[in-house]
Amino acid sequence: MEGLSVSDANLVVYIHPSQSKNVSQAILRELSSLLFKYNETFDGVVLAYAVNSLDKQARILSGVHPYFGVRLKANLLLFSPKPNMLLEGKVVKLMRESIHVIVLGFSSAVIVDEDIRDEFKYKSKRGEAKYVSRSHKRHAIKVGTTIRFSVKSLDEEILHISGSLIPAHTGSVSWLDGDGGNPTTESSKKRKQPDGETEVQELGIAGGDTCSVNNDQKIKKSKKRRNAE
């Protein structure tokens, strides 16, 4: 999944004089107020932060409010989806007209039917709706499936993504990473795939250095696993 990055930020946090007794708490509160909001400066949504070093000196701002500024360095985990990036998310609702997805548990995405490539056909059986690939019967998208899709646009205010399933390398993650790569060996890998995926996702969130988690890497990874077996 793309769109996740860790950046080193040099920040100045302005603190109200009433908080001067407990500066570190005030800093954390200030940083927490950045979370899950789109920030133009970072060009992304801050998902997590870690304060690395704190300047011992603070500077009092002249002016009406005697706020004081504290310099600090922090690592920020940013989520900044850009058009044509590939994201992954879980399908929460599926209708003929649209597929609704939640990415990373907080950002919503919608893929409308024009943005679903013709390969997929809508089917509804016994109340269970799904999109099934015409060429690969096993490639299906239904509620609960994790899919990979490309970004069309992002509404920054409410973190709403408009997505697309037009590119060929989009669709159900478990199928793309499993059967899609090697159609002959299906059943055995299917079970393993979810593990690999969560691992990668965790890496993306927790790991410090990886700038983005590349799809290819991930596919390689799963291939390695397969080979090892």
Binding site: R96, S98, I102, S107, V110, V112, D155, I158, H160
Partner: protein, 632 residues
């Protein structure tokens, strides 16, 4: 399907053909209509907008058309553009669920959910539309008050809340928007030009909805903000009542009368007119409506707390309540009613919440920066410890001990003489100790364990310190305390205090400051009728029922008839209330309860007459000074 039925009855062949459209064909048709607007051909689009405006007394075929259009629109939401289809969006967001039957409601909500999920731009408008449907339109209010109206209300509200939950499921970030929308849409307290009855009912329904959100599936995201919004609203109404204003004109009447009758009865009752200055009657009439509204909202909140307690989630709710209390109510100037929400929450779970509340207040008193906050915290604490029937003597004793220890520590660091302003926090602490002991001394002294605990408390070094709290604190409290302490051999002073029935002294005014925190007893009897009777009263210690250390053995006969009169009067007044107020069974039960209370109160009445002699009408007023006219 409804469509088919309707058209078949019409019997027109042309429309029969329409019936054969499948759902997806309809969607295509609507999509074409939406797209064609951009190319300049907007006939079918305008037809569509026209359909949305059908609202009055729909015929079955109109209903069918509306439902079909809404459903088709839900399939075509991605084609709706906020620039070109402004009129359509406006008419959709302007629709009121209350006007329609279940079919239309379901279709409309499906469309709203689809719209919200289709584009981030519409989320706010969709939430706004749903929240505005919390309240029925004005003209429906009377219908809704009838039993069949209840079914309609439930029909609408359950759907609205399900829709909100669905939206949050699809768009997690909508939850944070939702709480802002709810707070923003909160009805403002009063507009005179509106019919008050309507407005009251609408505000009540709105609060009901907020509380429903608080207990619903998305409470995790919005719950605490919702609860805070309710507390804020209560505080706002509370402040709007201005009780002190009403009482200022009332000095001739005496506070005792107010404690006996419910105060709002004084306002309501036409017969009392002669006794009250004309202006007062006019003034209080307007304010009384706010009090009624506040009363109903408090009852709603109490019921909500009860349901939380039943669902075993009072603990989490209490955390929010406590935060909210500390943030707003604690620092509200002489809040009169809103604090009873805390009182009731504590009453529902004395062991956890009740104890926690007192501990938090004590913490705030002993380690906070702002002296005014500390003083009001200790005023709350004193009043709470005195009035809460559900607190165990052991806990009262241990909290007292904590206060005394703090005061002792303070004394030891101070070498100076009496100075009400400089040591106001200390004086408020001392007054709190004495006030609590006025109410609790007898019950503590009756148990040997607590008796020894009390006797061991370093009261003497504190009260006889050079800072001289006995001279500074409210004379009425000091006097009562000294009387009881002497009878209990707890504490005696060689100095004689002559208070001449003074309620307050210059010193007490000094340390109370502008806010008159020396006279602040937040949990004095609640004057809101419904909240008091059903919820607060059973958990509340009234002064007239307090057993004092000196009064219990008294066997007085001379004042017995006065005491009886008192009982009769009280009984009668409550009977009257029952009749005039409503014929509700609940009230009748409460009247019985009143009688029972009167029967129980023989002992305190002895004490009370003993103390006041002929002036029995004045005495309780002294011990509950916060509502006296002088308190301004």
């Amino acid at each position: 399907m409804g469509v088919e039925m309707a058209y078949q009855y019409n019997g027109e062949f042309q429309e029969m053909e329409d019936v054969n459209f499948s759902d997806s064909e309809l969607v295509c048709h609507v999509r074409d209509a939406l797209i064609s607007v951009q190319t300049g051909d907007s006939d079918s689009y305008h037809q569509l907008v026209g359909v949305m405006h059908h609202s009055e007394r729909l015929a079955p075929d109109e209903v069918a058309l509306l439902v079909t259009s809404l459903k088709a629109l839900s399939g075509a939401v991605s084609y709706i553009d906020n620039v070109h289809h402004d009129s359509l969006l406006n008419s959709i967001f302007g629709m009121s669920l209350w006007k329609y039957g279940p079919d239309v409601m379901d279709a409309l909500l499906e469309l709203i959910i689809a719209l919200a999920a289709s584009n981030g731009k519409y989320v706010d408008s969709c939430l706004d539309m749903l929240v505005s449907n919390f309240m029925p339109p004005m003209y429906l209010v009377y219908t809704l008050k009838q039993p069949r109206g209840q079914a309609k209300k439930e029909q609408v509200l359950s759907r609205v809340h399900t829709a909100l939950e669905d939206i949050v499921d699809l768009i997690p970030m909508a939850a944070s928007r939702l709480s802002s929308v709810v707070v923003h849409r909160m009805p403002t307290t009063f507009k005179k030009d509106l019919e008050k009855d309507h407005l009251m009912y609408r505000t009540e329904i709105y609060v009901e909805n907020i509380l429903r959100l608080e207990s619903g599936a998305i409470r995790e995201f919005v719950g605490s903000r919702m609860l805070m919004a309710v507390v804020d609203l209560l505080t706002e109404l509370d402040v709007a009542i201005g009780w002190d204003d009403i009482l200022r004109d009332d000095s001739c009447k005496g506070i005792f009368a107010i404690e006996l009758e419910d105060a709002d009865e004084v306002d309501d009752d036409e017969n009392d007119y002669g006794e009250l200055p004309r202006t007062l009657n006019h003034k209080s009439l307007g304010k009384n409506i706010v009090a009624d509204l506040l009363d109903s909202l408090m009852v709603l909140t109490f019921e909500h707390l009860e349901s939380c307690a039943n669902n075993k989630r009072l603990g989490e709710v209490f955390e929010t309540l406590l935060d909210s209390f500390m943030l707003t109510i604690l620092n509200t100037y002489k809040s009169k009613f809103a604090q009873f929400v805390m009182f009731y929450a504590c009453a529902l779970d004395p062991e956890k919440c009740g104890v926690k509340f007192a501990k938090t207040l004590a913490d705030r008193f002993s380690c906070s920066d702002n002296p005014v906050t500390r003083m009001s915290a200790v005023a709350y604490l004193a009043s709470y410890l005195a009035r809460a029937k559900f607190l165990s003597p052991a806990f009262v004793a241990s909290t007292l001990k904590r206060l005394v220890d703090w005061c002792l520590e303070y004394c030891e660091t101070q070498g100076s003489d009496m100075n009400p302003k400089a040591h106001r926090v200390f004086y408020s602490g001392c007054q709190a100790i004495m006030y609590v002991l006025c109410f609790r001394m007898k019950s503590l002294m009756d148990v040997p364990r607590f008796k020894s605990q009390l006797l061991l408390m370093p009261l003497e070094p504190v009260l006889k310190h050079k800072l001289d709290p006995l001279k500074v604190c409210l004379p009425s409290i000091v006097e009562e305390f000294l009387k009881q302490a002497k009878a209990a051999y707890l504490f005696t002073t060689s100095e004689t205090f002559i208070f001449e029935d003074m309620l307050e002294s210059d010193f007490s005014k000094d340390f109370g400051g502008l806010e008159r925190l020396d006279m602040f007893f937040p949990f004095d009897p609640c004057l809101l009728k419904k909240s008091d009777r059903g919820y607060i009263r059973p958990n509340f210690v009234y002064w007239k029922h307090v057993r004092t250390t000196y009064g219990s053995d008294e066997d007085d006969s001379s004042d017995a008839d006065i005491a009886e009169d008192f009982v009769a009067e009280n009984g009668e007044s409550s009977m009257e209330e029952g009749r005039t107020g409503s014929l509700d069974e609940q009230y009748l039960e409460l009247d019985e309860f009143d009688h029972a209370m009167n029967k129980m109160s023989i002992t305190p009445k002895n004490g009370f007459t003993y103390r006041f002699g002929g002036e029995q009408m004045k005495m309780p007023s002294r011990i509950r000074p916060s509502t006296t006219p002088e308190s301004l």
